[in-house]
Symmetry: C2
Subunit: 393 residues, 2 copies
């Protein structure tokens, strides 16, 4: 556990309530260095905790969220976190990630829009939103920011770092960048690097946002309510939403049903909608109410830039730094992060002699199954955490 050379302002203290949002502020006199070569000043990281850190500080578990997630892994929607916990049903007393046993922490990633410093935050120079001035960040930047919180909380070593999708990218970077600070990792439905196809999906969303005249180069924060770049963001979200799910489930759920008003004319109007379109619209609508478009861009770009091998000679050399036990979870029907990508993580780890378990969730729900099939996801995690139990506590 390193000595902090800066004050731990805003850090958790025993007795703080579970599931309420807290903030740490990085000291303003020194910048937070980014992979891209620039610095961010006055960084704030929002986080939530559940359970209690034990006296030995050995029962801490870090959860890492996905693209449009936030620190709110468990609990109802309330001020500061507009949606219920993204792993509600997994995280809590007596659940797979048992908060009676573990001190669970989840941050809103750097670049996010639910309390952590991101494009909508005030620039320290002028107090106006960063907008287009916000620099490109990487998953490694997110993880380095989380390391600061780790230090501030006085956690020498995470019992486990767990996350799905982009959360899983952070998990891998934790294992590689700070192996001495992590006992075990659980990457879920993720990959060692973004593939060309994944980048392509990301690029389509980026272009749609850029095309939206209300995006105005990222400087839309003075827009009237309801007058921001919501259409571009909604289209970007549509792309994600299709890749997050599966052909089968779409067919079962929506088939070729038309919206009621469109059914009267057999859907034979150019803008008449099938039910699946209304579903995508609904998800777009929900997202624009709770998520900042520039954050969506910045975080999406970080995912495209994800490559654990970058600057580390090779993929194998990077993965060789992962020496702690790992549980990798894939989803049978995932079209965005197909199971060959999780098997690749498992194979690389096994080949180098790192203890590795691979579990495949058998689900028709596609990528989102890690947020849906909670039983199948939770069980192996619970078992894995318990197996490790004797080692770290």
């Amino acid at each position: 556990m390193p000595q902090l050379d800066y004050p731990a302002t805003g850090a958790w203290q025993s007795g703080m309530p579970s599931g309420s949002r807290k903030f740490i502020h990085f000291p303003s006199d020194r910048g937070f260095a980014l992979d891209g070569g620039s610095y961010l000043r006055d960084v704030t990281l929002a986080y939530e905790t559940w359970g209690t850190l034990n006296a030995e500080r050995t029962n801490a578990v870090l959860l890492c969220h996905a693209w449009t997630g936030d620190s709110h892994a468990a609990g109802p929607a309330e001020e500061g976190h507009p949606t219920p916990g993204w792993w509600e049903g997994i995280v809590g007393p007596g659940l797979a990630i048992d908060t009676n046993e573990w001190f669970v922490v989840c941050t809103n990633v750097l670049g996010g829009c639910q309390g952590s410093t991101g494009p909508a935050s005030p620039h320290p120079d002028d107090g106006k939103p960063y907008g287009s001035r916000f620099p490109v960040i990487t998953v490694r930047d997110m993880v380095r920011a989380q390391l600061r919180l780790t230090d501030m909380l006085g956690i020498p070593k995470w019992h486990a770092v767990i996350g799905g999708s982009m959360g899983g990218m952070q998990v891998l970077e934790w294992g590689i960048t700070f192996p001495e600070r992590v006992n075990a990792i659980v990457p879920v439905a993720t990959c060692v690097y973004a593939t060309a196809q994944q980048i392509a999906w990301g690029a389509i969303g980026r272009r749609a946002i850029k095309l939206d005249p209300k995006w105005r180069g990222g400087e839309y924060y003075d827009a009237e309510p309801g007058d921001g770049p919501w259409q571009g963001l909604a289209i970007a979200r549509m792309v994600s939403q299709v890749t997050f799910r599966s052909d089968n489930v779409f067919t079962e759920r929506f088939g070729r049903e038309l919206m009621d008003s469109d059914a009267d004319r057999n859907g034979l109007g150019l803008w008449d909608r099938f039910v699946v379109e209304s579903y995508l619209d609904h998800h777009g609508d929900r997202l624009i109410r709770r998520f900042d478009t520039n954050s969506y861009l910045i975080i999406g770009k970080a995912m495209d830039l994800h490559d654990v091998g970058r600057g580390r000679v090779s993929l194998e050399r990077a993965m060789a730094r992962i020496t702690m036990p790992s549980l990798t979870i894939g989803i049978s029907s995932d079209i965005l992060y197909p199971t060959y990508q999780q098997k690749q993580i498992h194979d690389l780890l096994q080949r180098q002699g790192t203890p590795s378990t691979y579990v495949e969730v058998d689900s028709p729900h596609g990528h989102d199954a890690f947020l849906i099939n909670l039983d199948q996801v939770g069980k192996p995690i619970k078992k894995f955490l318990e197996t490790l139990d004797g080692q770290s506590k």
Copy 2:
């Protein structure tokens, strides 16, 4: 062969050159009735032919093109068809569809932009482009327009109707709507109805076009050159281009390579491009030079509306009308029209006792394999046409 009750203006005559574009004009005094309930007046259909119609008029083969294709199935790019033939290498003397033997015909579909009446065509009322006035059409409308050409050419029965993707939709509709005019059908990489996922991809493209301020509700035909709704169309095309290919081929071909200028800074600019993005841009650029945005919308909507069972009691009842031999071709790596959809066609036909063969192209190239793996696609078609030979000639 029905008696024509209208003059066959512009129809093919013996001695006309192969592969040059021809036009037929439907008589202007009567409208062409559409599925949507409206009429089109002064319809023109562009078409090309290869080979010679035999005296018995029994050697005619109809090819049906896909979304952004046109009548130019074979031959180099030249005026009137800005790209080389989409089945160059399949259609020609001595090739799989042997133009020494068959009289091959391909139309530009109704709603298209390469000579057939579409949104860019002059409205008969005022001579200005239809624009948003162009009605929604269906694949059945396309096929009924092709029937008019069939009559005008004096072809009692097609030896075979062949096509991939949206072309395959037309093929199925030919078999169902006009079974007495078709000896055999070859649907390739297609489906009996557009699934929710396929509709979702289409919807994303539609929204991107609608979002483009230069689309102007479809009334952009007075735009300066280079000032049309090209960005929206390019984004729509990106979606298609990703679904037309495969994860594997994208990884092999592009990996995570950055464009040269972007590599200097590790791609760490928000708009720095990976090579795969530049590839998608390139395809978008190519399309906007040769394709009308409103045609893209209208034809895309027709595909979403494709459902052979619509208004025919059931899918099974519709398919029961197909009594002629069929060869159905699927592609192993197709993510847009997965092989279960072609197997479904084959199963439905087999179950009702219709002679049916299913062939699967083993290719990593995804949906586009029907335009790439010409050998694997051409061989079974050649064999199928020859097997039928004795029956029809």
